[in-house]
């Protein structure tokens, strides 16, 4: 395994910055997220970020195109698009899995989302293995390996004083080649993964949900819910968006921005009708989508066990307990 002293990470990231636009997990003001790397910035090693790296590929607000009206005719104006290679350092297994989910949505089944694709294609990902699961983590229950993130270009391992690297893809190999002078070969065994506190049993749940659309369970589960969008906005897999425009006089910009199925106006129709008028329907949709519709369509859960939603939920809605309740429901 190629390793480097943790203390050398700064040099490594500086070296990578010469080739890539690098983003790293950073802690700030009691919260954490991926930020563009600047020399000297402290990289967060403990646990996962509060905000997932989803926005790197699917930003919360994304301009699509501009337009201009001149004397009753409309012209389109293309907007500058950021180019160049990017590198994401420190993506965890769960978030790696979420990119798999997003890839399914944005790149398969005959529809390609150019905005997503452009960003995805110019990004190399160095995943960082988890040794000690967080209190709200449950990726292992969903079949993920917390130490080796599937789909990453490079696997990095936290080995105490040192960091280990293994290239998985060709792009990953290029990254390590770049770091030749900073890495040395040394044998290391991966430390054992710690115990998970949350262990939902997800087997059979997607199938069981098929018959549970009218279950009284949803009403009960939904009672707590405030219908805020915190869970959906921190979720690495939620990918709903709304298209809107900002018009200033004769010019304007079309943009898309994250939307949340928890919001009342999410399914509001032009005529005022709302097929999901109360939180019962909204909560049901959220979990049906994650645990039934998505698996049916893409053959994978729309949940990666990152635990962010149960961490941020102000009223402690807990997907693991909901999975349990579904299992136990008659």
């Amino acid at each position: 395994m190629l390793v480097a002293q943790k203390a050398k990470l700064r040099e490594i990231l500086n070296a990578l910055s010469e080739e890539y636009q690098v983003a790293v997990p950073v802690q700030r003001e009691g919260t954490s997220a991926f930020e563009l790397y600047r020399d000297g910035i402290e990289v967060m090693f403990n646990g996962n970020t509060s905000i997932s790296p989803k926005g790197m590929f699917f930003p919360q607000t994304e301009k699509m195109y501009g337009f201009k009206t001149v004397k009753n005719t409309t012209e389109f104006v293309s907007l500058p698009v950021e180019q160049g290679k990017r590198l994401l350092f420190g993506v965890r297994s769960c978030d790696m899995k979420s990119l798999d989910c997003l890839d399914q949505v944005f790149l398969t089944k005959g529809y390609i989302d150019e905005f997503y694709k452009q960003k995805r294609e110019r990004t190399v990902i160095v995943a960082l293995g988890c040794n000690e699961p967080g209190e709200t983590c449950f990726c292992a229950s969903l079949g993920l390996d917390p130490q080796k993130a599937a789909g990453a270009d490079v696997h990095a391992y936290d080995l105490g004083e040192v960091i280990g690297f293994e290239a998985v893809t060709e792009a990953g190999q290029k990254v390590l080649d770049l770091l030749k002078n900073h890495l040395r070969e040394q044998q290391f065994a991966l430390p054992p993964v710690g115990e998970f506190y949350l262990k939902p049993e997800v087997a059979g749940v997607p199938e069981k949900l098929k018959g549970m659309f009218e279950s009284p369970l949803w009403e009960e589960i939904a009672r707590k819910c405030l219908n805020c969008g915190a869970c959906t906005y921190v979720c690495p897999t939620c990918h709903c968006f709304d298209i809107s425009q900002d018009v200033r006089g004769e010019k304007g910009i079309k943009y898309r921005c994250w939307d949340s199925c928890m919001f009342g106006e999410y399914t509001q129709m032009a005529g005022g009708h709302n097929p999901r008028p109360t939180k019962k329907e909204r909560v049901r949709n959220r979990f049906m989508h994650k645990l039934n519709y998505f698996p049916e369509r893409y053959n994978m859960l729309l949940c990666t066990g990152c635990g962010r939603c149960l961490d941020v939920c102000p009223v402690k809605m807990d997907i693991t307990s909901i999975i349990q309740q579904i299992k136990e429901a008659k």
Binding site: K68, D246, K251, I253
Partner: protein, 146 residues
């Protein structure tokens, strides 16, 4: 609107009530009292109609200063509208200052229909203050230019 340092001129939005300040501004014109061409007056029926959110929006969209103006207390055409204005903007001005807006950029004055010299003086004064402060960038939503 983007800020061009060279050609920049202060852009001051005045919310004026129809009965006192707007009429006062009319009288300023009738009296040919000159003031800088930095202000644009937006007519509302009563200063009580001025929603503090209008002020926020104006700063977002790019004005350099806002003047909220209406009848003197006791003179409101609608009896009490300006008393509500007073309460709302006592809070609003302090809040804006608290988040970092320079106090000169949001001002409130009572200007009656007869106070043309006062209107002239207030506008001149604010224009000078804003010219000294330079363009406002705070709260501004500049993302949407093409």
């Amino acid at each position: 609107m983007s800020v061009n340092e060279v050609t920049w001129q202060p852009k001051i939005l005045v919310f004026a009530c129809n009965w006192c300040t707007y009429a006062g501004a009319d009288l300023t014109g009738l009296s040919r009292l000159q003031y800088p061409a930095t202000v644009r007056i937006l007519r509302v029926p009563c200063s009580g109609r001025i929603n503090p959110q209008f002020v926020l929006k104006a700063f977002q969209k790019g004005v350099d200063a806002v003047l909220v103006a209406g009848c003197h207390p006791g003179d409101c055409h609608y009896t009490t509208g300006n008393y509500f204005t007073r309460r709302r903007f006592l809070i609003m001005r302090r809040l804006m200052e608290y988040v970092g807006l320079e106090p000169e950029r949001l001002q409130a004055r009572w200007i009656s229909a007869a106070e043309a010299p006062k209107f002239q003086q207030v506008i001149t004064e604010i224009s000078e203050q804003i010219r000294a402060l330079g363009p406002n960038r705070k709260l501004r939503d500049e993302e949407w230019k093409i």
